[in-house]
């Protein structure tokens, strides 16, 4: 049992989920929409990386970012904008994102096959260095640094720029913000661009440790991040990110701490903790103490 090792792995997993949570939380903040098809953006990024294996890494990553942002905008434009115009109920919106997720997975299955594609970009980050007997892979460092940087950058974007102000206004009260001159489509489109950029970053980081890209790759990532988002508290971006980080961290720690025989029940342990947290603090672990419950969806 090596505590240092366990913590290093858990922090990397937590950072990754934290990034996914920011992407999901950003769109939720503006549109009150949980985009279940977010994971398919990550998968799309993975496929782009797999097919640009021969390119220089910077170029491959740029292609990945461009493709994922394009797909994010496409999702918004084709499916979610129409639903928003129709005034669909939150349940309908949620199921519509399932449908989009399902559709994209089916397309990946036809286009790329079920066997999976291997990503080689940045594979060298899998090598490790040793501090005090703890093997730390470079990708762990890269994930934590990129995660912290992108989280900070998103926060700065929201708090320091004009469009960030618009996003926050729209997130607080969409109708009033529109009346006051916030351009709804632009704000929502922009939040999808940012969310797409974050998804691309997750594709790059995730595929270094898990190089096999399959049509359903994004599903468990979305689910775990979503669980984390709700556990942390949906209303604010940082609490959502922290919640997802906590879920990833606990998952990583328990995975290392449990004996191999009982580690098969790891998901049960984590889900059990999730239920306990939600029953005790429905508004989220990191929400203000007397916060109202989110009465949506």
């Amino acid at each position: 049992m090596n505590w240092g090792q366990a913590i290093a792995d858990a922090v990397a997993l937590g950072s990754l989920y934290g990034l996914v949570a920011v992407g999901i939380g950003l769109v939720f903040g503006v549109m009150r929409l949980i985009n279940f098809a977010y994971g398919e953006l990550i998968t799309a990024g993975g496929y782009v990386l797999a097919y640009t294996g021969g390119w220089p890494p910077a170029l491959a990553i740029a292609a990945c970012v461009a493709a994922v942002i394009a797909l994010a905008l496409l999702q918004e434009r084709v499916a979610f904008r129409a639903l928003r115009r129709m005034g669909a109920s939150p349940a309908t919106m949620l199921v519509a994102t399932f449908a989009v997720s399902f559709l994209l997975q089916a397309i990946y299955l036809i286009a790329f096959g079920s066997r999976g594609q291997i990503v080689g970009t940045l594979g060298s980050l899998n090598t490790a260095f040793t501090i005090h007997g703890v093997d730390i892979r470079w990708i762990v460092v890269a994930t934590v640094v990129t995660g912290a940087f992108l989280l900070g950058a998103t926060a700065a974007l929201l708090n320091r720029t004009n469009i960030g102000l618009h996003i926050r206004a729209a997130a607080t009260d969409f109708r009033t913000a529109r009346i006051l001159g916030v351009r709804a489509n632009r704000v929502i489109g922009f939040s999808f661009v940012v969310a797409g950029f974050l998804a691309a970053a997750v594709s790059v980081l995730y595929t270094v440790s898990n190089p096999l890209v399959q049509p359903q790759m994004g599903v468990p990532i979305t689910i775990f991040a979503l669980v984390g988002v709700v556990v942390g508290g949906l209303d604010r971006l940082w609490s959502a990110a922290l919640g997802a980080f906590a879920v990833g961290f606990v998952y990583g720690m328990c995975g290392d701490l449990l004996s191999s025989q009982s580690s098969v029940y790891l998901p049960s342990v984590v889900y059990g903790l999730v239920i306990v947290v939600l029953v005790l603090r429905p508004a989220g672990l990191f929400a203000p103490l007397r916060a109202r419950m989110v009465e949506r969806v």
Binding site: V95, A106, P267, S268, R296
Partner: protein, 334 residues
């Protein structure tokens, strides 16, 4: 149509749809019969889901765990004890030795689903909105995880086959019973109170409705019907695996409910039958079908088309195919 007959007609629509499905299946090839039977099972499960999700407006991702418990119980106790001691040596003694007929096992499945839902609902029905959805999903995650690895309650990761199968009329009959329960519930005091909380929680509370209690009642009934549906599913397929009660089934049944129209029983049945029909037709079309001309679709188009159709229906008719209305013979203005 006289006013007094209206409720009977509302229930008759869904029931007749199930009966018609079973009747049509009789004249078809074996493969198509299986697909029609599967449609009946889906209808039963979606009706179960409707009792809670449709009436309360709270999304549950956890209902397939009640279906799983019902399905496992119903499947295991209809198997011959000797086979079980051979294939699953670690099984709990009462599961290993029990051996009863399919119909009583379905009743037990409903009871087990209901009890499980009640136990889960006691703490979770205090939640609403997305936290409720995620908490119920956590229940599904635990159920799946336990069923997958715990040899005392089932075959674990392996597939258990040779479960006694039931015919399409049993499936349709059980589906009709589920419809009748759902219909009786939604017209009862309890159902109406719960629907009031869906429309306006604050006003409902102010009128003296105990939201927690009403949700718990619906959750329990819904869990019992899901247990029954799970039992039907196992006996329709003739096999048990943990994967049949996990993410795919959860999303498909929720999608059927919303596509049909989550606000009505008729919507639940229409959604389940129409998506099943589309699925079955496209599956056939991948192996050439005659629709005036020979139609052969490339492999894989089935899933793409279903995804696209579901998304399209939701975009064009956000309230679902039935717009959340009950079956009626009168024409109403849209």
């Amino acid at each position: 149509m006289r006013r007094s007959l209206e409720p009977a007609v509302q229930l008759l629509g869904p029931v007749l749809a199930l009966v018609a499905t079973a009747a049509v299946a009789g004249g078809l090839s074996t493969t198509q019969q299986l697909e029609f039977e599967n449609a009946l099972v889906m209808a039963a499960i979606v009706v179960a889901l409707y009792v809670f999700v449709g009436n309360s407006g709270v999304i549950s991702f956890g209902h397939m765990s009640f279906a799983a418990v019902g399905g496992y119980l119903s499947g295991l106790i209809t198997l011959d004890p000797q086979t079980k001691s051979f294939t699953m040596p670690g099984l709990f003694p009462f599961l290993e030795h029990a051996h009863i007929g399919v119909v009583p096992s379905l009743a037990l499945a409903a009871a087990a689903g209901g009890v499980f839902a009640l136990v889960v609902g006691l703490p979770l029905m205090r939640l609403s909105g997305l936290p409720a959805g995620i908490a119920t999903f956590a229940v599904l995650g635990i159920t799946y995880n336990v069923l997958y690895y715990w040899g005392k309650v089932g075959p674990g990761a392996q597939t258990l086959s040779d479960i006694p199968e039931v015919g399409r009329w049993t499936l349709a009959g059980a589906g009709a019973i589920a419809c009748a329960c759902a219909f009786a519930y939604q017209r009862s005091r309890f159902g109406r109170q719960l629907r009031a909380t869906r429309e306006d929680p604050a006003a409902a509370r102010a009128s003296g409705i105990d939201v927690y209690r009403q949700r718990l009642v619906a959750f329990t009934l819904s869990g019992a019907l899901a247990g029954l549906g799970g039992g039907l599913y196992v006996h329709q397929l003739g096999l048990i695996t943990p994967d049949q009660f996990y993410l795919d089934l959860t999303f498909v049944t929720l999608a059927m409910l919303v596509v049909g129209g989550a606000g009505s029983l008729w919507g639940a049945v229409v959604g389940a039958l129409s998506i099943s029909a589309l699925n079955s037709f496209l599956g056939d079309a991948e192996n050439t079908v005659h629709v005036g001309f020979r139609l052969t679709l490339p492999n894989g188009t089935r899933l793409v088309t279903i995804g696209a159709v579901m998304a399209l229906v939701l975009i064009l008719r956000p309230a679902g195919l039935t717009r959340g209305r009950e079956f009626s013979l009168r024409r109403r203005r849209a």
